[in-house]
Amino acid sequence: MISDGVVEDEEKWLSAGIAGLQQNAFYMHRALDSNNLKDALKYSAQMLSELRTSRLSPHKYYELYMRAFDELRKLEIFFKEEATRGCSIVELYELVQHAGNILPRLYLLCTAGSVYIKSKEAPAKDVLKDLVEMCRGIQHPLRGLFLRSYLSQVSRDKLPDIGSEYEGDADTVIDAVEFVLQNFTEMNKLWVRMQHQGPAREKDKRGKERGELRDLVGKNLHVLSQIEGVDLEMYKEIVLPRVLEQTVNCKDELAQYYLMDCIIQVFPDEYHLQTLETLLNACPQLQASVDVKTVLSRLMERLSNYAASGPEVLHEFFQVEAFAKLNSAISKVIEAQENMPIAGVVTLYASLLTFTLQVHPDRLDYVDQILGACVMKLSGREKLDDSKATKQIVALLSAPLEKYKDIDTALKLSNYPRIMECLNDGSHKEMANVIVQNIMKNKTCISTAEKVDALFELIKGLIRDLDGDSHDELDEDFIEEQNSVARLIQMLHSDDPDEMLKVIQTVRKHILTGGRKRLPYTVPPLIFSSLQLVRRLERQDESVSGDEAPTTPKKIFQLVTQTIEALASIPVPELALGLYLQCAEAANDCDLEPVAYEFFTQAYILYEEEITDSKTQVTSIHLIIGTLQRMHIFGVENRDALTHKATGYSAKLLKKPDQCRAVYACSHLFWLDDHDSIRDGERVLLCLKRALRIANAVQQMTNATRGSSGSALLFIEILNKYLYFYEKGVSQITVESIHDLSKLIKNEMHGGSSPSDPAADAFLASTLRYIQFQKDKGGAVGDKYMLITN
């Protein structure tokens, strides 16, 4: 309520002020129109008296000021005309000073001064000096700021800059600079003073209001940066020291932060680089509450961008030893500001790091040094829980990765893992993820066991539970992470098999610590990686691989076996089974029959003991059959044992259709095209017939339970097997048997009781189409097909 009242009152005062201003402006216009200088001065002074109010907030005061400003433009034009009409500008300059009230007087003086400079009757520098001196009369912060802002505004295009028409004799730029600097200094003093005047309870409000006014002060720095004559030399010798002196001495948090930022933003990067020391030395001298880290970060950001602008500027950085200076400045600031939150410290180092990576990409020692400094700050504390700080650390650690696109480099940094240590588990994981993503994005190849060890140590957050309380639910993030790790494992590669083996051993060491949640994700890629190595060895040197070689397929298989056994503790038998079969196949390729047999045995044991779910059984049996079919190293005995078992398993499946399918799949185990010893047509036929029997049984069961016969799908599938083996030339598969089967299918499909099954119809149709196709193709196979009549 109270504040509402204040706002309302303020509106009232503002409109009263505007009304007064407009009224006097009206009389002033009349005086201007009738060329009445005396009246013009009188009414303009009265008009400007409205600006003497203390009741308006900066925002509202600005509104009033802008109106006065517009009117003063008209007065200025009038003054110019007066001057051309023969009125002495010097007299005019005196005349405006007769006004009794100081604020109107000084506004008029600035206006007349502007015309005075334009007339060139006096050197610009003298007039400017006088104006800026006289403005000291306004000590009220708000009114003073606006008055000086007006002065700055009217004088902007009249500074005796190099190349300006107001340029005087030698060293005239210095006058322009002095003028702006003085105005700046005074404005800043007023601005700072605002904070300390008035009741303490309105401190926050004042802070806010000051925020609104800051650009008035900052504009001076902008003007300075626009002065042509401010070259590096002058910036270094005069401008910067003076601005910094004011900044440091004003001891005001808001002003220091704003001005430092302003300096950094308005002056060219090149100047910053050349005056780095001066600029940085000011930082520790700022108030402890000033957000120096942001200031420095911005500076480094700008310098980084500057460095990125082209290689030709880099030598400037080397010349001024930018890194050393920034580095020492940062430590000083951190030292000076004891209360700086750790997030701030890390932000600073992160900025420095970005800078270093940009400017000294070749100096890994610098990077390590920064990380080391950071470790110093972080160590001896609790693990960080501050989300801001950890975020910054992640940024800090990501920077080198992004720059070098190569984890190798990061692994060379001795302090890198030490910083990782400081992270809490959550962010450690996050960082590890960043690293892994980076490796994958850049397709970095990590090729030595040592590096792999370091890397896995680094990303241990992903590899194992860091704290005791591991939660059991597998959320999406976790799966995502583990998939990443799996992909990472695939990326590890060394051309040297011995080294590769070491890599695998290292990875194994790490992933085995991962616990039951992770193993299902991490073991398979390791196994495949190992098998890949096995095949590579096999391909590479069948002759050379003597017993002396440290890396032999046998050794690897031992390793692999042990690894898969680790899965046993977690009930993921189907995965282990799949892996065993993969291994068996690899062993097959290496001609290691006993090894392959052992793998199969393991797979069978798993099948028998662990896989109880019927669905899993089905997929597993098909896997077994498929793998077994491809094995060619087994002797007759071994093979018989294995195939026998497989067919046995098939027949014992729970669901009949599954049984049927498994059994006809088994038929392939007895007929291998490229293997003369395995061509047992009898047993093929036996399998198929058995499958047919089961299919029949299925139909009868359906009839019994549903009252109608089921789909003929199974029959069609079996027909396809018949056709396959017929085509392969298995003599036991006769044309007649195919005919019989076709007939059976037709009966089944057109029997009244069977519901139509579109899948079966389509399957049959394409099967028939295939037969027709083979007939049409002709040749030996075509001839065989010609015998089949539909």
């Binding site: 007769h98 100081i102 007087r105 009114r143 003073g144």
Partner: protein
Amino acid sequence: MNYIIGAFKPACSITISLADGNSRKQVALKENGKTVLIPIFHNQETISGKISIEPILGKKVEHNGIKVELLGQIEMYFDRSNFYDFTSLVRELDIPGEICERKTFPFEFSTVEMPYETYNGANVRLRYVLKVSICRNYGGGIVEYQDFVVQNYSPPPSINNSIKMEVGIEDCLHIEFEYNKSKYHLKDVIVGKIYFLLVRIKIKNMDLEIRRRESTGSGSNTHVETETLAKFELMDGAPVRGESIPVRLFLSPYELAPTYSNINNKFSVKYYLNLVLVDEEDRRYFKQQEINMYRLSETS
């Protein structure tokens, strides 16, 4: 020049015309609400001219003699009846006789001592006047006055020190001020500086006033009248320690006169610069400093 006489329709009209009346500088003075232009003279100038007496048509004026007087008078307002003539010079224009027609008499007061300036103050007036009297036995004398103004130039003072002073209230306010001179001519500019050494009060603004202190009479009869002739704002807002505020006050817009000290033992006029600081509770803190005013020859 004299219109008033004609209105009363006395026996004759007297016209006083000064020798260089057209070329002489004049000053506008307000008298009875009217602005009249009055010629300016300086000390030791010769005042000469003509006086013509013209009887009303067909009349003749008998007289016991005609004279012209140059009077320097001091008039105290609280003692209106008394004029103190500090200068009185007489020239006989005519011996007793009669005037039948217009008659013109030349006159001259050469190198007249007029050490004091014409002054119109709050309680005192110093004037110079030419008085023409036609003495008659009956019907009273016929008198005509012509005022003129005396202004005296002073050379620029050979010693003109600045005024510099540190003043204050202990632990509350300490300032140091400096005015560039102690003696100013009437169109001068006061330039100076106010330096704040200690500020513990909330100052609202600071003014510089020019005050005129006129003292008349002597002893227990002394009357002092102080007038503020100018009020000029020097500063707006509260300064902090170390601020210095510039002073630049042009004297020309104000109606000032030189400092007069002990004019004919009757009165003195002094000028003061009064520096006034006003705090937020409208308390005034001030320090007054005398300055010496003088009239500088406009040509020099």
